[in-house]
């Protein structure tokens, strides 16, 4: 009998090509996603005149710089933005890499597209030059973001040197109440442990509340692992995972799928496996949560008030809070529900899957948004599905813009920006200074909470709005 092993260790061991004298592991990479920003890495490869070692395991996705108003690269006004999209096409074509480009009906944000296409599977090691790669861990894979030098290394060798992180388990006991989502779980643990609380750790999410989450909700939760500093986040695959993957375009077919399922079923943490750190939350402690500051750790339940720096005993925390309040233009002690907003954004790799759009539409149906805003579906297939369900009409009737898929206003690289000084209720992942545009003020929250803010014109508790069919976005239907 081998000793009890964590899910993380099982996957890690299966990918260890070599261990150096210094203890670093050379890991085999099953899937490598590249996007427009990967041009630095392709240039590094070009400088050395190296080929892509495994183009069959490399996939290109146009998402960071794509326009959301039209699907034609020729219509992109900024030549530098256009060049980013064209360079990706050129580099993938030159190296024989499959591209999900701007005009592909499967195009989408890499962390929405990968799972949707069945490219993301349990037990894999997956990387991408994007910190939200942790998303794919929702399937029980080790998935993490890397920098351009590492992207070049993976392109050249299909491997990566890594020091094994410690492993922590975040267990969420009990069942989430109505209106509480994976986003709220994430913001709650990050507020509790800090934006660097999981630094140096791989995270496994476990417990009754996690097992009850849909794949979409698990993706949201794992996506935000990096916002708490985690190297990656993962959830043991189960029937929900297998059901999701069966008959996805790139999933194993026929007998191979059954073989895969048999193996995937062994990927869980053994009952006596030990973790370097255990954190337990009870679902009943988790409320709809919003950020008030400029780091995801600056988050509170919606029925709380903006913190008063003078009341904080830790001088470092007080200093940080003063700085955050100044940037955000907020007053200490102000009720969160009194914060008026200028704009809403529903989109990003965090919260733009079909369930997210349904949750937002359920709140918006029959209402007008009091502020302008934009909805950018996570993928072109999500957009098509939403239109088939009539969700686009709900958003448009509410006065919001129904856009194409891309990273869009989460990071603003394509020009979808929040103006300086404007306050945006956003389903995205980072409330950093200037993230949505220079001087932009971001409040992070779940899609239903963004919709509630749109309907009321201020941050609002979605549970107190009359909604016809309010179900938690995380619930398995």
């Amino acid at each position: 009998m081998s000793s009890p092993t964590t899910l993380f260790d099982k996957v890690w061991r299966a990918h260890e090509v070599h261990r150096s004298d210094s203890g670093q592991s050379l890991l085999w990479i099953d899937r490598h996603f590249v996007h427009e920003g990967s041009f630095h890495a392709f240039n590094k490869l070009g400088e050395r005149q190296l080929p892509v070692a495994r183009p069959d395991l490399t996939f290109g996705i146009a998402d960071h710089y794509v326009p959301t108003q039209a699907r034609d690269v020729a219509l992109v006004a900024d030549p530098k933005v256009r060049s980013m999209i064209e360079q990706l096409s050129h580099n993938t074509q030159q190296h024989g890499v499959t591209l999900f480009g701007l005009d592909d009906p499967r195009q989408g944000i890499v962390h929405v597209l990968g799972p949707e296409q069945g490219l993301t599977q349990p037990g894999m090691v997956m990387v991408c030059g994007d910190s939200h790669t942790a998303t794919h861990g929702a399937f029980g894979s080790i998935a993490f973001g890397i920098g351009a030098s590492e992207v070049a290394h993976v392109l050249a060798t299909q491997t990566l040197w890594q020091s094994k992180p410690k492993v922590m388990r975040i267990t969420v006991e009990g069942q989430l109440a109505e209106g509480i989502t994976a986003k709220d779980i994430a913001l709650t643990w990050i507020a509790r442990l800090g934006a660097d609380g999981a630094r140096g750790y791989a995270i496994e999410y476990a417990g009754e509340a996690i097992r009850s989450l849909s794949m979409e909700a698990r993706l949201t939760l794992c996506n935000l692992s990096i916002e708490g500093g985690g190297r990656c986040g993962m959830i043991a695959p189960d029937q929900t995972t297998f059901d999701y993957l069966r008959s996805r375009p790139w999933s194993p077919k026929g007998e191979a799928f059954e073989q895969a399922c048999a193996y995937w079923s062994t990927l869980y943490s053994d009952p006596d496996a030990t973790f370097d750190l255990e954190v337990t939350l009870h679902a009943s402690e988790i409320a709809p949560t919003v950020t008030w500051g400029v780091s995801p750790e600056e988050a509170l339940p919606i029925d709380h008030a903006v913190p008063d720096p003078e009341q904080l005993s830790d001088p470092a925390k007080a200093r940080q809070a003063r700085d955050s309040l100044a940037y955000m233009g907020l007053t200490a002690g102000q009720k969160l529900t009194d914060i008026a907003i200028d704009r809403v954004f529903i989109g990003s790799c965090t919260n733009a899957r079909i369930e997210d759009l349904r949750a937002a539409a359920a709140v918006l149906a029959g209402h007008k948004s009091r502020v302008p805003g934009m909805v950018s579906p996570g993928s072109t297939l999500v957009k098509t599905q939403a239109e088939a369900e009539g969700l686009d009409r709900i958003f448009i009737d509410a006065g919001l813009e129904w856009r194409h898929s891309g990273c869009s206003m989460c990071v603003g690289m394509n020009g979808d920006l929040v103006a300086s000084g404007e306050r945006c209720a956003s389903t995205t992942n980072r409330n950093f200074k200037g993230r949505q545009g220079p001087g932009a003020r971001t409040h992070l929250m779940s899609p239903a909470m963004v919709a509630a803010a749109a309907v009321t014109g201020h941050l609002a508790d979605v549970r107190q709005l009359p909604v016809a069919s309010l179900t938690p976005a995380g619930a398995r239907s």
């Binding site: 085999w28 060049s83 973001g145 050249a156 060798t157 500093g229 193996y263 297939l381 200037g434 220079p438």
Partner: protein, 212 residues
Amino acid sequence: MKPMKVVTSLGVALPAANVDTDQLIPARFMKEPRSVGYGQFLLYDLRHDDHGQPKADFILHHPEASKAEVMVSRRNFGAGSSREAAVYALVDDGFRCVVAPSFGDIFASNAVNNGLLPAVVTEDDAEQLLAALGNAPSAMTVDLEALTVSIGAVSVPFTLSPVWRTKLLNGWDDIDMTRQHTDIIAAFAHQYAEQFPWSAPSPPGASLIGKG
């Protein structure tokens, strides 16, 4: 990469926590080729006002700051986006070392891959160093062999993974190192494909392409 042993230079204080990579280089500059020099974009929105005018009192605009090779900051430096451009901005502006109580994981890897030392000190020691630097660039020394950071009489230890220390001391490059293991990798890939045959991408037939 050039080997690093001791950095003796001016240091500057950036007394803020959570200096994330979006602040180190705002996204809008990342479509520029590296050849333009990324140093001009470093902390752009912190060092300029709303009209794009340099803030005269910002530390990087001090007349001596262009000579600084060391930056001292607070916890969770380089958190967030994996953009290596954040490291390019620091390196192209002349920095060779950042000293802080903690770093974003991906930033720290990116730093070492570009010859930038991420030196971890305790919170108290970071405060001592920040106080010693004050509002003007000051002479300081970072010794990678002794693992110490010093400003005048103040000398504190720092930590760094032994692997990264060796890499920086020797100026090693990962791709060169890994290509010495080509045979092991090929053998692994072969055995892996036999053990996990379903892991090979299974492209969809034409009829499946439109399915989600």
